[in-house]
Symmetry: D2
Subunit: 358 residues, 4 copies
């Protein structure tokens, strides 16, 4: 068993890490770090609201009992020598400072965006760009770290890139247009999306989201030559909106491919897509990277987000587009706080372990 620590353990993503690592066959959570307010308390106390006695626990799964008795410390007090991997669930500004300190001693799998756009840093989605993981060796040696930092993508990038990958490999991609209808959980809880703002409403703007998705998609689908990642070379144009949905990002996608395609072939390619995951036997990997629906009323976030524990990407309405050259359209639903966050980060850790990078 590898010994894991979680930084930012009392927040919503930290809690999702606890759930994702509960009864994990390879990793065991041994240390928890959080802000000064929580440090020095047992986890069960740290998430208890003193005034009301209520629990500040935000997952639908119950809090794992093994975590409740762990002591919460400040990040600087983590015993990194007793740690094989650190999962971080903190804000980008904090990540920029803390993650390099951690990475000097131990591998860091991060949900923050702080290092996503660094040249020596891959943005990993197992099955999509597993080979990019080797860039971490270079990062390590270049930075003189014993560990490394490997961030997962923005939750809106994840489903888009997973569904693009088989199309990209089979038909080539010329351009991608995407409009997202994102769940409120994507904004976290501090302060997250206020109910007042989203009841009976759509919010047409999420700061920096479109730029992130555009840049990350090209990097993830880029080619790694052993030294660096060359981003894929096609246009990506996004409009990101927020809708009144708890979990599960919906995306309306139009892809113009290089080669001719048929709707049947695109659907078949998606259905067959595996990215080598099956044979690797990663514990958190879904059986199907992509679940393609024939029912035109699918995918729906409420019905499809939890399929395969939120690790598959649900696709539907695959159909011809008549405006773009070799245009094909579809909708997808991706679980933004499972595959798109902590559980996706655990899947990355599993890949790294399998590849002996960890």
């Amino acid at each position: 068993m590898l010994k894991a620590a979680i930084v930012g353990a009392t927040g919503i993503v930290g809690q999702q890490f606890l759930v994702a690592l509960h009864h994990h066959p390879w990793f065991e959570v041994r240390q928890l770090a959080a802000s000064e307010r929580s440090a020095g308390k047992k986890y069960s106390q740290a998430i208890r609201d003193e005034k009301t006695g209520g629990l500040r626990w935000y997952c639908s799964e119950e809090p794992p009992s093994e975590a409740m008795d762990l002591n919460v410390v400040k990040t600087s007090e983590l015993k990194l020598s007793e740690c094989d991997i650190v999962f971080t669930a903190i804000e980008p500004e904090e990540a920029k400072i803390l993650e390099p300190q951690l990475a000097q001693k131990v591998p860091v799998v991060s949900t923050a965006s702080a290092f996503r756009y660094e040249e020596d840093t891959p943005i990993l989605i197992p099955g999509v760009n597993s080979d990019h993981a080797d860039l971490l060796d270079l990062q390590r040696s270049k930075r003189g770290w014993r560990g490394f930092i490997t961030p997962i993508p923005n939750c809106t990038t994840t489903g888009l890139t997973i569904t693009l990958k088989p199309i990209f490999d089979e038909f080539g991609v010329q351009s991608v247009l995407m409009t997202s209808m994102q769940a409120v959980s994507g904004a976290g809880r501090s302060p997250g999306v206020i109910a007042l703002d989203i009841i009976d409403n759509v919010i047409p703007f999420i700061p920096n989201e479109e730029e992130k998705v555009q840049q990350e998609t090209l990097k993830i689908l880029g080619s790694f030559n052993g030294n660096s990642i060359k981003p894929a070379d096609f246009g990506v144009s996004c409009t990101c909106t927020r809708v009144n949905v708890r979990e599960g990002h919906t995306e309306s996608v139009l892809v113009s491919t290089v080669k001719e395609n048929s709707v049947e072939d695109v659907a078949k390619t998606m259905r067959g897509f595996d990215g080598g995951l099956r044979e690797m036997g990663l514990p958190s990997a879904p059986k199907q990277m992509i679940t393609v629906h024939d029912d035109p009323y699918r995918p729906q976030p409420r019905l499809d987000r939890d399929t395969e524990n939120g690790m598959t990407t649900a696709v539907g309405r695959v159909r011809k587009d008549t405006v773009m050259k070799n245009g094909v359209k579809y909708l997808l639903v991706s679980h933004n706080t499972k595959m798109g966050a902590a559980a996706g980060a655990v899947l990355v850790a599993e890949l790294l372990k399998k590849k002996d990078i960890l």
Copy 2:
């Protein structure tokens, strides 16, 4: 004052007609028709639930008092000789049969889709294709009717076409891509969208909606040569979804123009767009056909749908697209049950009156 009748007066769109015609300076509602169940009752009784005593009144405005005392009759019992115009708010299958019967004697402004795609029938949006109204003379003579049928567009077409018009005129349009996030009121109430289906959800499919919007947009922006409408010649590709919003369709639009454009010029063109409405002095016309926002968080359906009584189209986030040639992107909010339904139909009637076609 022109004497108006409403067919389908007890349904939600019929009620919206009553509201839109309340205190109207040019039209006066004198007759109401509805199904057999309601016929023979006063309107105030017809909309009362006998079992519970509750009112089946669905508008946020109070029921106009002048309507409450009118008798409801079957459509076949309307006194068409005492009627200058009929507004219909019925299902397409019914419209196909009833509207021609009415049109033999009196002009019909319809919210149904039954006749939208007929060659001799315009789909009017005042300010966008006011000149198409003249096609009604041909319809009249060709069909041997004393009246005519003029349908308004699908509510999702309305905002899209209004915002495309100034761009089309100024820069030419090469192609249009649109993903809609439509309000539940667009589905009416029989049965409409069930709460069970839309709470915490997005529904990715609305039967026939995408085809309607694509076809109607090209017809409305088509050119009328005095004899027939030649549809505009560009690609339109839509994805129509339903979100958890009561009123106000949001649309994410990408336009590729023929000529080069700048974001500033597109916004300016939209802001200045009037379509000749201002000088016509139509009572229901908004001061601004299009309200362009600079705040990136706008337009939002809850905040912007009611601007100018729901008759303006709110636009925001006008910005460059980098994927399409001369691409420009924006979001719009259009009030689907005001400008997109009964109030929009009343505006059409005002145009016809102003043009002496009525």
Copy 3:
């Protein structure tokens, strides 16, 4: 294995029966009946929308594969001789006619209200009034039926009565005041609650609901002397409202007891309440009839409805009331379409089997 039939199999409650009976150790679904529109089709076809190809399947669980190949027949065509039990999921008016026809030959467990208020008919909640089941023998002989009809309570009654039972037994009940905040699924789908009506809203009235809850509560908590049920003798006063929640009725309850009570004792009594279920070993029975929370923010419908597959009643905020004599207040959440509907009816069937009444 007992052979079961479901009447009303294509509706939402019928589907919930299929889910509740999937892999059931005692019952096997062998026949399905529905309306004429569905009769003659395989179940998989009967629930398919011909126009769009979409499935009319309304449970979050996938449709049980064993049901998909069954033929759907009209109720009159069920082979009752090959049937040990019929579960009905139909409207009360229909139930009034069909259920006696079925009961002449076979036991009927019904979700309809049609027979709830008959003198010779119990309203069973296993663990609360299991002994009332013996009234079915009298019903049988009195009506000359080989089977019987046993309806489950209204879904709003269920949680209230379960939580009252231990208090009633321990402290006696003088009066009960309850305000419910009911989920939209309680209204079914035909037409159910329209999204337009409940978005950003509370509906303060549900026809006949308050009367049903008041009457059923007293009957269920009544005493059975071997011949008839004598309703409990205390006041029940309800206000039933509808809120924007999919599943899970929330109820704010105030009980005035006969004997003095303490909050601790009430909570303890609820926690210990079992009603003899544990030793009976009914497959669908929850481990805890009542789950009592200390966290003042619980119970919440979204967090607590699915506990123990929706078969437990979640209680929280047990606290003293200062207005009523021996007043104690609490809130409860009960899963209205699990314990409160089909799954609750299956639990009744399990009780009847265990008691050899079936």
Copy 4:
């Protein structure tokens, strides 16, 4: 014109004050105070998000143009000598410190709870306890202030107390039981209710709310003998919950009266209730303090909250209760951010002006 200042002007309640005082015939907003972050900026800048350019404006009404050019200062920098009244919209902890400093020089009408429970401080609802205003003279002299502090009630108290008042006067009140279904706007925006928590949910607990409502109701309905307020002497028992509604608190109320009552008389008494407001001619006063509906489906927060600009309390389902002695039940909807907040505070100021206390 009296010169008004608003403290906490950039927050949501501060903005509601600006809206409530826009074009007010008696008061003119001349000074604005807010936190250090905003101090030194024009109001239009202070509410602009620098990063995104979006407006942090939270009312559905547009920002009053006259406010946009005012300079925002720190509270300590307000020129109190140029000010006739201060409206405060700040948190209780801050109010405890700032309001006495202000009240030394100028009258303060407060939305905070800080001083509500002080002996020398009335909680005013014009029309309900207008006579309590005279207690402010004693407060003034006792504390040696030139001004005074007069807080409005908790927003959940307001509708309850208004509807109880005519019953209390006509029939006497023995006890009151209330379950509220409160709108999310009642929690403000810092952080307010997170969408994640309330989508598809009810939250059964609002800290301290029930105690506040219980205590305030008795104080407001208490009698003032010229020296002190003697709280009313009856039991009040509340359960306060949060539902997925933007604006408008719904309350399910049961009142046991001292004298016998009939439903008709209670409804009539409510309809006729005026509290002397009509003859006072206060600009913000509703025509009807209470609007009583016969339709059993009313009141609904979305349909009824905005009646009379949110200043009336909508009541429906007035009916007999059979459990309590002389029991009568009803539901009410009260606009928590109009009559229950800033607009209600302006109404208090109008009363004080009319009574020459200001």
